[in-house]
Amino acid sequence: MNGLVVTDKKDTRSGFGAGLLELGRTNPNVVGLCADLTGSLKMDAFQKEFPERFFQAGIAEANMIGMAAGLATGGKIPFTGTFANFSTGRVYDQIRQSVAYSEKNVKICASHAGLTLGEDGATHQILEDIGMMRMLPNMVVINPCDYNQTKAATIAIAEHHGPVYLRFGRPKWPVFTDPNQPFIIGKAWMVQEGTDVTIIATGHLVWKAIEAAAILADQGLSCEVINIHTIKPLDDQAILKSVAKTRCVVTAEEHQMNGGLGDAVCQLLASNQPTPVEMVAVNDQFGESGTPDQLLEKYGLGKQNIVDAVGKVMARKNG
């Protein structure tokens, strides 16, 4: 498909765990903190190899974020780990004041983001985290699309001085990016070039966008697929350049329409190059229990939803 080869199915959280372990071996300033979810976050290998640099915070996320700010003050590079819900909404004020406003070099690493967390239901399926984090000045927001990209992003953010929100997930997902990819914060990845429509996707939905583009190719449509792994700072140039060619956009993300990637793209386009946009995202609802596939379908985040959105936006462009 599109020259991409699916090499495996792996969870993105394991990419984080692998990246953190590698960082532990290469950067003595990297420390890990976790709020009683070490296994779920795949931080156990780091904990085992570097016990003196791992801090078990217990079920106390606010204190974990504050301690991370303190460790960063003392010159360390703290990576905090818990579920995305407890990494953001639960500790928003701690992140805002002690990390973002205080310009601390803290990496907030969040697993189980979005609907694909599955059966645990809406209490845990945060769909507002990208919005909350991208509103904070000084915060970089990254949502990688597969295991390899998550590992590369984890390693890359240690080199960036400043607060970062790194979002990943639970389900086993196709692995299709280069294991040796250079990860550059803020630089979009052109997945495939096309001329009729630009599909801009982040996180797990990048794979859905690729699948949708293949269906549309069979219908004779040429889709440009762009992977925005860094939602903030957004790669304005990559998007504007693509839109100048295709003149219509579909965004796809496992997040609320409010505040997410689609919002960021619309903000960019409205100010620079007004363009028809359709957003594939959750429309102002909470999730529920179910399997990841069932949930993506019910909440309109499947490949067919992207295909349908392309049909709509093409009609608006040509109408």
Binding site: G70, G74, S98, Y101
Partner: protein
Amino acid sequence: MKSTAELQDIVSQVRRDIVRMVHAVQSGHPGGSLGCAEFFTVLYHRIMKYSAVPFNMAGENEDVFILSNGHISPVFYSTLARAGYFEVSELATFRKLDSRLQGHPATEEGLPGIRVATGSLGQGLSVAVGIALSKKLNGDDRTVFALMGDGELQEGQNWEAIMYAAHNGVDNLIATVDLNGQQIDGSTKDIMGFTDMRSKFEAFGWEVLEMDGNNIDSVYQGLQSGIDASRKGKPVLILMKTEMGNGVDFMMGSHAWHGIAPNDEQLAQALAQNPETLGDY
């Protein structure tokens, strides 16, 4: 080492700075600031080892202080200026546009001496614990000091940090609670009392000491005892009784002056009670 009389002179000047700063912009928090003038003065002029210039954010091989109840920024700013972190003339910019002396302490403008933004309550102790952990990792044997308000302890995050520090033996940390018994809506015992604060901290596994925050010798003895009690496997807490508004008679003993600025007449009265010792800014 500075004598008690010399420290008393600094306290008098710090009190003048506090009321003048708050009066100048008709905003800020004089009550809690005045109550802690002795604590800050003893801490920065007799207890802590640090280099004010150049300011080192990481505080490697120096003692570090974190103010959690950031609203008492006037006493913090005055103390930092009088300790040489920045020019005392800059105190005149307090709470004004383009100032490094924000309403609550912040790092964004790069004011030397401030290591984290505080003001939204309950966050400073966690940061202090984190700095203490970084000192242990770095083999740095200096101490981390922190100050919290008593009302502030109503914020749950404090108790997360209190549990963490005890469980993990963070014993290079000396936290002080300003027991002035007041908060914005009234006295702490009416709003949400703590009953026995000492036994609460002891039950959490902290070493607990006490001192009279408005007596220079008691503050010195208390902080020195804190240092002696540190590095023995437990974090140290000092319960510090203070009088809000201490040193300005009409501000004392009430929460009314928590966040109210004096008018011209009241300023004159306050200054008359606290002689100019080191030169006003």
